[in-house]
């Protein structure tokens, strides 16, 4: 399946099934509604085959280039069928499982994620380790029957809805830093897991604190090698900054168009609109080259931090325009469309914080791309 045939076939299928794929809710919708919609679209897409292209056959895919997945997500965002945040978990976590899980585990589990049967989450950050991920404390101790995990994670998106978690734990001595981390795949209904959702400033319980108290995890759920979990985290990050960023760009383009259609005449200066549009074109050109490199089999690395800086700045600049141009809606509107503009504007404030903050990206660019040496 080449991209041209995939594009044509997918676009036709989306046209034909427009009514059944459309969200059941109107307006901004709740998080639960978003996730139900996500599951519905993934299931229909999986059954029709579209959701399986670009994934290896050994995990339920149909093979083909990863660029097919880039286009699938773009088409879904462009038609407002799924939200970028929920959809991104598939693009971030499935490749990690394919690269690091025991083959039979990946073969059993990945299809459930692709088909929308299950939501998964990513247990990385902790209260004392945000940007400094290598200092994480959540302890996994080997016992006769498996790992015993105790500790706390935070900012775990969708944990309260997730069936599984890709979890980073400390297995080496406290001072082992990135050399003593082990990754594992945890069932979220395991005894000892307590989940406390956090309400964001846009009023959504999107992420959670997750407490692990003597949670037993079988050894065959270990991802990659023991004490080599840093490789899992490092492998995952470029995925986090490639396909799913392309999808976010498609979402931003759609919202920019909807803003231009709705903005009162004279509310925005041409200069500010032009600059935001140029930033979106710049991100698109950059990310498009990244998608092509990935499709060609190149190994993605620190250069994807440039993509991340560009998309985060673009997202904030788009919604800065929204807040200025649609001020009546964002500040004072109480209808569904206004709630959505407000929610997305507020969410965009986090774009330079999550997934490696803007400062961390600049640190990576300085050390790895500019080769400025260590900063201490």
């Amino acid at each position: 399946m080449d991209l041209g045939a995939f594009r044509k076939g997918l676009d036709d299928w989306l046209d034909q099934h427009e009514a059944e794929l459309a969200p059941d809710h109107s307006g901004s919708g709740t998080l639960v509604q978003h996730l139900e919609q996500l599951a519905k679209v993934k299931r229909a897409g999986f059954e029709a085959g579209w959701m399986r292209w670009g994934w290896p056959e050994r995990v339920g895919g149909l093979g083909g280039s990863a660029i097919l997945r880039a286009y699938l997500g773009e088409a879904l965002m462009a038609r407002d069928l799924v939200s970028a945040g929920g959809y991104s978990m598939t693009e971030v976590l499935a490749p990690t499982m394919i690269d690091f899980a025991p083959p039979e585990l990946a073969a059993t589990m990945v299809p459930r994620l692709l088909r929308g049967d299950e939501m998964w989450c990513q247990g990385f950050s902790e209260p004392s380790t945000g940007s400094n991920l290598a200092a994480l404390n959540c302890r996994a101790t080997p016992t006769d029957t498996g790992w015993r995990v105790s500790g706390q994670k935070v900012w775990t998106s969708y944990a309260q809805f997730a069936a599984r978690c890709v979890l980073l734990t400390r297995t080496g001595p406290a001072e082992s830093a990135h050399r003593g981390i082990t990754a594992m795949f945890v069932d979220m209904d395991s005894p000892g897991i307590t989940i406390r959702p956090l309400t964001t400033m846009h009023g959504v319980e999107e992420f959670c604190e997750v407490f692990y108290d003597d949670v037993l995890v079988p050894f065959d759920r270990t991802l990659g090698q023991i004490d080599r979990g840093w490789a899992v985290a490092m492998d995952l990050l470029p995925y986090e900054r490639s396909t799913s960023l392309w999808h976010r760009g498609a979402f931003l383009q759609r919202r920019m168009n909807e803003m231009l259609a709705a903005v009162p005449t004279g509310a925005l200066s041409a200069a500010e609109v032009g600059e935001v549009a140029q930033n979106l074109y710049a991100f698109r050109a950059r990310s498009r080259a990244t998608q092509r490199r990935m499709a060609a089999g190149d190994r993605l690395g620190p250069e994807t931090s440039v993509d991340k800086v560009l998309v985060a700045s673009a997202e904030q600049s788009v919604f800065d325009l929204v807040a200025a141009g649609l001020a009546a809606e964002v500040i004072g509107g109480d209808d569904g469309a206004s709630e959505r503009w407000r929610s997305e504007f507020l969410y965009s404030r986090a774009a330079t914080i999550y997934g490696g903050s803007a400062e961390i990206q600049r640190n990576i660019i300085a050390r790895r791309l500019l080769e400025l040496g260590d900063d201490r």
């Binding site: 991209l3 594009r7 660029i67 880039a70 286009y71 773009e74 392309w246 383009q253 920019m256 168009n257 231009l260 259609a261 903005v263 005449t265 925005l268 200066s269 041409a270 200069a271 500010e272 609109v273 032009g274 600059e275 549009a277 140029q278 930033n279 979106l280 074109y281 710049a282 991100f283 698109r284 050109a285 950059r286 498009r288 080259a289 998608q291 440039v306 800086v309 560009l310 400062e359 990206q361 600049r362 640190n363 660019i365 300085a366 050390r367 791309l369 500019l370 400025l372 040496g373 260590d374 900063d375 201490r376």
Partner: protein, 323 residues
């Protein structure tokens, strides 16, 4: 299409030529190396190879004239210089008034060494432009010293100048030529910005304060990281214009390059600090060159406002660059 090892060899030769020569000597080297043939067979690749190097070396040549000719040439077998729009503008630089030509524009450093110049003139029909040839001796020329005397810009003016009609073109052809020129200038800006970044990076690694190289300080590192992001953003759109030659994308690429190069200038000058403020250090040549290049075929400011006006009027943002 130049590809693979040929491309690398060609790039190496061009790098050598731009680092050793400037002005007419570089023109001659470009002819010898076959850059004009490359321009004819694959304009985008030829532009993308040469202009970053020319900008990176602070060199000048007739290359921009030749890029404009590529867009306009109908096999007229001429090798003239081309008159560009005045600073800040991208409109055709002349107007036909009866048999004579009113002209107000700019020539590159190549103009002085040519006896004729090719001029695109607006006609009474807004969809049609006229291409004419004029003798440079009949024009009023002023060598622009200005902020960057090394660039060799020439101010060109004349009222009711005699000219030879070469033919008419659709004004969209002028727009396409402007697009090519904008991409070339964008690449030259990016080349200059990369050299500024390299100068600032070297300085940061070598300059010791408080007992350590200033490259260890996050404030310095982040300025240089910001510079690289701005350069890569512009470069990505410039590269993409090879696949999508729309005037809108070319203008966006030029605007991003101009803005990116000015961002580079601001951050790199701050990192270079005192030494970068002297005439002894090469930095100032690049900063000044960037300010001039930004003015040719539309400033980043004007092009950005132009795009904004188009989007606000159309109430949508056209999708470019399908996957």
């Amino acid at each position: 299409m130049i590809q693979g090892s040929d491309l690398e060899m060609f790039e190496r030769s061009l790098r050598q030529a731009t680092s050793r020569h400037t002005g007419v000597a570089l023109d001659a080297a470009l002819v010898d190396l076959g850059w004009l043939d490359a321009l004819e067979s694959d304009a985008h690749t030829a532009i993308a190879l040469l202009f970053p190097l020319q900008g990176g070396a602070n060199a000048t040549s007739f290359a921009l004239d030749r890029v404009l000719m590529t867009g306009l040439n109908r096999g007229w077998a001429l090798e003239p210089a081309v008159v560009m729009p005045p600073l800040g503008s991208w409109r055709a630089p002349a107007q036909l008034m009866g048999a004579g030509l009113n002209i107000h524009g700019l020539g590159s450093s190549a103009l002085g060494s040519h006896s004729t110049a090719l001029v695109v003139a607006r006609s009474s029909d807004p969809t049609v432009d006229t291409v004419v040839e004029v003798a440079t001796a009949t024009l009023t020329l002023r060598c622009v010293e200005g902020i960057d005397p090394d660039f060799g810009l020439v101010e060109v003016s004349g009222e009711s100048v005699d000219c030879a009609h070469l033919g008419d073109i659709a004004s969209t052809e002028w727009d396409a030529s402007v697009g090519l020129a904008q991409v070339a200038l964008g690449y030259e800006l990016v080349g200059a910005a990369r050299t500024m970044l390299e100068l600032a990076r070297d300085h940061a690694l070598n300059r010791v304060q408080f007992g350590q190289p200033i490259s260890r300080f996050q404030a310095v590192r982040h300025r240089l990281a910001e510079t690289l992001v701005a350069i890569e953003a512009a470069d990505a759109v410039l590269a993409a214009t090879g696949e999508d030659p729309s005037p809108q994308l070319a203008a966006a690429a030029k605007a991003l390059s101009g803005r990116g190069a000015r961002t580079a200038g601001r951050h790199c000058q701050q990192v270079l600090a005192g030494i970068g403020f002297t005439a002894e250090h090469p930095f100032h040549r690049y900063l000044k060159r960037v300010l001039v290049l930004d003015q040719l075929f539309g400033t980043s400011r004007a092009l950005t406002e132009g795009l904004g006006n188009e989007l606000l009027a159309g109430r949508r943002m056209p999708t470019h660059l399908p996957l």
